[in-house]
């Protein structure tokens, strides 16, 4: 296992070669620039009296700042936590209370932290890169210098590389109720042992070129991205977002950037399967492994992707509590079986009954994991830690079994969790947000199966007597309490929730209500312009009145790639036929969609 000193030495030696460390869409940073940035940030930390054992919290849309801050804090022994910028102020406050950061680095326009009483450093709004001007200036404009001018005043200093293996490296906050946010404590030992396993399994080395544009506030985005690249002194490519309109450009980058490893989520594989125009994206002499992370990969999709793109899809199973993974399906034949999540590597796995007794092969039970990469516990949450870790075994909350050959299969979930587009969403968190809205008496949330996103969030609300809230008004209010991706895609207002003898909500009955409603909806829906706007407003979580045919994906922040797909799926089901791939990727405004749907009708 490497030490911080080894990592920093590698960084310094690579910096002489001007090799690319990280490449964003508009600019790239070589090792020399990254080393300088890390030193500058070391000086910045010293200026703010941050030392080994301190904590920083980062919340910014500036990916370069996020990456360099995390890497520099990692080398300096300062633990970091990265949060998404669309975090609600309620969740932000509860995380702050749990995490108690010594410094918050955040975008100056963020309002979620406005009531924070912790020291902070605000990142100035970056001036938009000019794209206008003469044709020639667009060609020759090379702005690749690190834009860390805000740290200019600080002296570049060598990082303090004295952190020990049991020191805290990261805290990753998983979905949970605001009353008890779960901050997963990852030590240097957890992190480095996991990175070693990844290297062994997928042959990472200094020549690797990783394509991973998963969000940096997600463990798979940060750990299997910049941190992995730093550990193996290789290169990371983070291109444009994987919006459907840019899918081809994104996939073409595999050839252009001579990618060796692509790390993605099942939702993107589903996008590729449905909307990619070609089959030869991985047909380069450089490409080695395609990894699917953060969520169960549907067996049919798995086979289709492998057959179509002529490349093996390796599945990585793990949770934030195991840094990012621990059970691997592929790349070697001995660890590969489609449909399974593979075999544990550098980890022990056992299947146990509800009573805790170990179960034999082919019998379903809860999956327990043990290894150096298993987390230390939840930050300031002894109760949750005790419930999740027993005798060094981590209770994953996933149900599964092992076959005769030792391959692990996931068959369900013992805990309530919705996985949508690779993101974990705790139903209790959504319910809690609903109950914060005045007028909501009871709430329940379930996951609804979805072909591309795996699951979508659907909630039920019981209103207090005399309250005149509607589904749309509730959905509009929810983003005040929830991150965008956690807001339900659909909401039912019901008179009462179905409860069992124990008083618990019967989720199966809620799913039946959804199923009946979907069938009815399909039969009754006739698409006219008004119905079209209603459909779209529901998917975008916006008021119908703000929509017009000229509304484009640029106008609404909620119109991201997932919402784009949801709109199309809804319109398809309303008009009763599927749009062509060419149509789907060419749609950039509501007018485009309306014209195509109307012409089809």
């Amino acid at each position: 296992m490497k030490t911080l000193n080894d990592i920093y030495q590698n960084l310094s030696s690579e910096s002489n070669k001007k090799k690319t460390f990280i490449k964003f869409e508009a600019r790239h940073f070589n090792y020399q620039e990254v080393t300088l940035s890390i030193r500058k940030l070391s000086g910045f930390f010293r200026f703010h009296c941050l030392e080994k054992g301190h904590r920083i919290l980062i919340c910014s849309d500036r990916e370069d700042i996020v990456v360099f801050s995390v890497l520099s804090s990692l080398l300096n022994g300062i633990s970091s936590a990265v949060l998404p910028t669309d975090i609600s102020s309620h969740r932000a406050q509860s995380i702050l209370e749990t995490y108690q950061p010594d410094l918050i680095i955040l975008d100056e326009n963020l309002t979620a932290f406005s009531e924070a009483s912790f020291p902070y450093f605000k990142i100035k709004d970056k001036k938009a890169t000019t794209t206008k001007g003469s044709l020639l200036s667009r060609f020759i404009n090379r702005d690749n210098s690190p834009d860390l001018s805000m740290f200019e005043a600080f002296e570049a200093e060598e990082p303090n590389l004295s952190a020990m293996s049991d020191n805290l490296a990261f805290v990753n906050f998983t979905s949970g109720t605001t009353s008890s946010p779960k901050g997963v404590k990852i030590t240097y030992k957890n992190l480095f042992s996991h990175l070693e396993t990844l290297g062994k399994q997928f042959s990472y080395n200094a020549d690797s070129r990783i394509l991973n544009n998963l969000t940096l506030s997600h463990a798979d985005g940060m750990i299997q991205g910049p941190v992995l690249a730093l550990y193996y002194a290789c290169s990371l490519y983070r291109p444009c977002s994987t919006d459907l309109q840019k899918l081809e450009y994104f996939l073409n980058s595999i050839h252009r950037e001579q990618i060796t490893h692509m790390i993605t989520v099942p939702t993107i594989l589903s996008f590729m399967d449905r909307f990619a125009s070609y089959n030869d994206y991985f047909d380069t002499r450089f490409f080695q492994h395609l990894l699917s992370v953060a969520g169960a990969l549907n067996k049919d999709l798995w086979k289709r992707v492998e057959q179509r793109f002529k490349t093996r899809v390796c599945n990585v199973y793990g949770l934030t509590e195991t840094v990012a993974g621990g059970v691997f399906c592929g790349p070697n034949d001995s660890t590969y079986k489609t449909g399974s999540v593979g075999v544990p590597v550098d980890m022990d796995v056992k299947i146990v009954s509800k009573e805790g007794a170990e179960l034999p092969k082919n019998i379903e039970g809860e999956i327990l994991l043990k290894g150096d990469n298993v987390f230390e516990g939840y930050l300031n949450n002894v109760q949750a830690t005790e419930a999740a870790v027993k005798d060094e075994w981590f209770l994953t909350g996933d149900l599964g079994y092992r076959d005769e050959e030792g391959f692990l299969f996931i068959s369900g979930r013992a805990k309530e969790l919705i996985i949508s587009g690779g993101f974990n969403i705790h139903p209790a968190e959504v319910n809690e947000a609903l109950l914060k809205i005045e007028g909501v008496a009871e709430a329940a949330t379930v996951g609804e199966p979805h072909p591309d996103l795996q699951e979508t969030v659907t909630s039920f609300a019981v209103l207090k007597a005399g309250v005149s809230e509607t589904k749309d008004s509730l959905l509009r209010k929810l983003p005040n309490f929830l991150e965008h991706y956690k807001v339900p895609k659909d909401l039912f207002i019901v008179d009462q929730l179905p409860v069992g003898d124990s008083g618990k909500v019967i989720l199966a009955e809620l799913k039946n209500i959804i199923s009946h409603s979907r069938n009815k909806h399909k039969k009754e829906e006739i698409l006219d312009l008004d119905a079209f706007f209603s459909l779209v407003s529901k998917e975008l979580n916006v008021d119908k009145n703000v929509l017009s045919l000229s509304t484009s994906s640029q106008d609404l922040p909620s119109w991201d790639s997932l919402a784009h797909l949801n709109i199309i799926v809804s319109v398809e089901s309303a008009i009763g036929f599927k749009l062509s791939n060419q149509d789907v990727v060419s749609i950039t405004s509501l007018n485009d969609l309306w014209q195509i749907a109307y012409k089809g009708l």
Partner: protein, 353 residues
């Protein structure tokens, strides 16, 4: 050119390659450069105009074809425009096809507006002079996939040498200088056997020239980091005439299929008329003459007969298809029909005059 493509900063590489393409044409064929520039501007403006697109696209296609015919006429009749310099229509047959392709595809909504990529496409020197007729969306994709790969450059250089050897050693020296010269010295010049041998040598020469220059173009493109589709796929191994035209000058055949055959079939609902129109177009693309109109009709008859045969599923045909010698027979028949083209058309053509 490869050196320019890779030695400059990345953002200036393709502009430099395109500029070089423009300067090359401007220097060697200024008239073609002017024509190419006018039609490119027109095509781009029409393709991305906001209103009356259908009419404008038709007008644009009409303009491109008229310009092509005019330039061909001026060249074939050595008309002196009085502007000095030599008159050359370098690449006009190729850029006309590219322009029509771009117009129709933009009308179908398959082309995204990007003037820079369009300029790269129009000015891509490796395919400007001798094809292949590359497609815009494939070219756009290759731009997005382009990267410095010495393995590809090495393959590109190999391909250039291979292609150039095909043109010079096989085509110019062996076939033209040795075989065709030898055939002119043979007795019984009027015999049918002699005509067949001459025709076979002509096809072989055409193959060496067209596929050789295509290899050079593909090789040059690879050196710049752009992959261009193959233009020939072992045409002599064709099992039928239909198969042959899928393997011979693929970029032109597929262009005719997409922009002549398919629309003609949709309008007329008549297979023979649609095939005839595409084959005549293909003939006139090579040379604007009555001979090539007959050439087109001759091949249209062959392809139509072949298609009729392929549709047959009676017992005799099924029996024959299962015989091992049948595919050798159809291969031989395909070549026999091809080498008889010049013999029959020549007889018919001579009979007219």
């Amino acid at each position: 050119m490869s050196l320019i493509a890779w030695s400059l900063p990345k953002k200036t590489q393709l502009p430099a390659v395109s500029l070089l393409g423009n300067l090359f044409v401007l220097w060697f064929a200024p008239y073609a450069f002017v024509a190419m520039s006018i039609s490119a501007c027109l095509v781009y403006l029409i393709s991305h105009a906001k209103s009356q697109k259908g009419h404008w696209v038709l007008l644009g296609v009409g303009y491109c074809i008229s310009q092509f015919l005019l330039l061909r006429f001026l060249q074939e009749h050595s008309v002196d425009l009085g502007l000095g310099g030599s008159f050359s229509v370098l690449g006009v047959a190729y850029f006309t096809c590219r322009d029509v392709h771009y117009l129709v595809e933009s009308y179908k909504g398959n082309v995204r507006k990007n003037i820079v990529t369009f300029w790269y496409y129009q000015s891509f020197l490796p395919v400007m002079i001798a094809g292949p007729i590359n497609r815009y969306h494939e070219f756009e994709r290759e731009i997005q996939r382009r990267s410095l790969d010495f393995d590809q450059i090495s393959k590109g250089i190999e391909r250039i040498i291979y292609g150039y050897a095909k043109v010079t050693v096989l085509g110019n020296y062996l076939i033209e200088h040795k075989i065709q010269s030898y055939l002119t010295q043979l007795p019984n010049q009027e015999s049918i056997l002699h005509s067949w041998l001459v025709s076979l040598a002509d096809w072989a020469y055409l193959y060496a020239q067209f596929s050789g220059w295509s290899d050079v173009a593909i090789g040059f493109s690879l050196c710049i980091g752009i992959k261009v589709s193959e233009n020939f796929n072992r045409p002599l191994s064709s099992k039928s005439l239909v198969d042959f035209w899928k393997r011979w000058h693929i970029s032109l055949s597929s262009w005719c299929k997409d922009y002549v055959f398919t629309p003609a079939l949709l309008i007329t609902r008549n297979l023979f008329i649609a095939i005839s129109l595409s084959m005549v177009t293909m003939g006139l693309w090579h040379e604007s003459s009555l001979y090539y109109i007959f050439w087109g009709i001759y091949h249209a008859i062959g392809i139509t007969l072949c298609r009729l045969y392929m549709k047959q599923d009676n017992e005799i045909v099924e029996y024959l298809r299962q015989r091992f010698w049948w595919s050798s027979f159809t291969r031989a028949l395909t070549i026999f029909y091809l080498i008889n083209a010049s013999v029959f058309i020549g007889l018919f053509y001579d009979g007219l005059y």
